[in-house]
Amino acid sequence: MKKLANKIRKKLLIMNSRSFASHSGSALSIVDILVVLYFKILNISPNSLSDPKRDKLILSKGHGSSALYVTLAEKNFFDKSLLDKFYLDGGKLPGHLDRESVPGIEVSSGSLGHGLSLGLGMALANSIDLINSRVFVISGDGELNEGSIWEAIMLAGHLKQNNLTLIIDNNKLQGYGKTSNILNLEPLDDKFKVFNWEVIQIDGHNYEEIEKAFKLETDKPKVIIAKTIKGKGVSYMENKFEWHYKSPNKEQLKQALEELI
């Protein structure tokens, strides 16, 4: 798992460095979660993309796109050569997700606070059609500033929508710095509990904990608050909010690739 995750990290850093794209840190923090989802949990493959019974993943924090692109390419959803033109003229893969770009992108995203409502709609459609599949939504923690997401949290709790799982990439950093300074979310677990959600707190880089959290059956919607490190795996990026914006230069990239063995 770790080997695969680091392979994905290296590739996304090469992509971001080449295209001077931002959001390297935001992508690195969700890689381990994506690897567990796509290689252990999700009932989905390139051949099942039109099957209504497939599981669905929504990356609501669309700025983490590069992590998803590399993961999908590793699962052969599309040709890996497309990664080389990420964020570049004539490429297929934009900085924020476009569902028409490549197979495997369930929804377009990039504006924060939309994904959970979309996921709730998909989960409700599954309930109507008596389909047992699950819907997973990955949101940033800063994204929880958006009011619309709390509308969805409230309704999902009310409906006991237990085929819906929200994963919060709790790296504790957002646009201007620490979430605790900008708009304090704590106590985050209690907030979800009073909205009638099942709350699980995990280390978002521990594969066993991630997998166990996904497999836990509940009778309520489930939120996995995954404590993560922005820039995970690259020493000079870890917990530095400026890597929300920066892309590594050639020297920085070389160092990062050496660290990610």
């Binding site: 209504p52 569902r99 369930e106 929804v107 377009s108 995203s109 990039g110 504006s111 606070g113 939309h114 959970l116 409502s117 979309l118 996921g119 709730l120 709609g121 998909m122 989960a123 409700l124 459609a125 599954n126 109507i128 059609d129 009011g147 619309s148 509308e151 969805a152 409230m154 309704l155 009310h158």
Partner: protein, 331 residues
């Protein structure tokens, strides 16, 4: 007072309740009986309107609470799962509150969501300007992929609702809702199709075309009657599809006219009048053209739709006077 257009084919307008809203619901119930994909969402509006639908299809009706942004996201998620989702509310709440959700989740992703807004123009009169809808056509028609429908009576509502079922992509329905008796215009039961125009009256040799949309129908017909009384021949056209309304259709049907007038209960900015002026400005035709619409201002008047119309200068007498003046000065 029954409306009569004396010359040519008589338009028999009957004073039945227009009730576009109930026509829409009744039509949708019929469609839903044969199509399991249809789902209705409402952010807690439509009490006394949706009970029959809810009773017949309890698993396909959701009151999503007073939360429009979430409701639009849910609608899109359902549509991406194969549903055809009709979302119902009052126009400002369904078009403006969740506008970015509409843009990203419905228009950008081109999903089969139908936004059904009631309260076109000043319909909600005395409720105040928060409930009026004067900017909705302008903003909705700016969205790529979005179809904008503005039917003028319950017949057009019925036909367009039926046609909406198999349309690929999003649709916005702009419906009126009023207890006042309104004319049913389409007694000739013409074929109504999305993207086409609907002739209420067609006179091949006329030099005047009156294009109207939605609940400006009563004013448009009153104007027509008055002009006919003065022996002017004219075409009266209901523009039920604001978008897509291609220039080819306009060229085919109004390019020979010397006078073109638009009438709509919407702001003067961005509605039907703008659509038609955009066409004329780029065409080689040079008709005398005048837009009649609501002024670029919010109403602070208290009263019914018809009272506020008059206060804002959107009244048949004023429109007739202006048109006659233009006709006399030019003919």
């Amino acid at each position: 007072m029954a409306l009569q257009i004396p010359k040519q084919r008589t338009i028999k307008t009957s004073f039945r309740r227009i009730d576009m809203r109930n026509t829409f619901v009744k039509t949708l119930i019929k469609l839903a009986e044969n199509d399991e994909r249809i789902v209705v969402l409402t952010p807690d509006l439509g009490f006394s309107v949706w009970e029959e639908f809810e009773q017949k299809f309890p698993k396909r009706f959701f009151n999503t609470g007073i939360a429009e942004q979430n409701t639009i996201g849910i609608a899109s998620g359902m549509a991406l799962s194969g549903k055809i989702v009709y979302v119902y509310s009052i126009i400002p709440f369904i078009t403006m509150r969740p506008f970015e959700q509409i843009r990203n989740n419905i228009a950008y992703m081109n999903t089969n969501v139908r936004l059904v807004g009631v309260g076109a123009g000043l319909t909600y009169g005395a409720q105040g300007a928060t409930h009026h809808a004067i900017e909705d056509i302008a903003i909705m028609r700016s969205l790529p992929n979005m179809v904008v429908l503005s039917p003028c009576d319950s017949y057009e509502v019925e036909k367009l609702t039926e046609k909406s079922l198999n349309h690929e992509g999003p649709i916005y329905f702009r419906l009126a809702k009023t207890k006042k008796e309104y004319p049913i215009i389409n007694i000739n039961e013409s074929d109504i199709k999305i993207g086409e125009i609907n002739f209420i009256e067609k006179n091949p040799n006329s030099e005047i075309a009156i294009l109207f949309t939605g609940n400006a129908s009563d004013i448009a017909l009153d104007v027509a009657v008055e002009l006919k009384k003065r022996n002017f021949d004219l075409d009266i056209i209901s523009i039920h599809t604001i978008k897509p309304l291609n220039y080819g259709i306009l060229e085919k049907n109004i390019s020979t006219k010397k006078f073109i007038f638009t009438i709509e209960e919407h702001s003067i900015i961005g509605g039907l009048g703008s659509v038609v002026s955009e066409f004329i400005a780029e065409s080689k035709f040079n008709p005398i053209f005048k837009r009649f619409a609501l002024p670029d201002e919010y109403s602070h008047f208290v009263g019914s739709q018809f009272y506020i119309r008059e206060k804002l200068g959107f009244h048949k007498d004023i429109i007739i006077e202006k048109i006659i003046k233009l006709l006399k000065n030019t003919v």
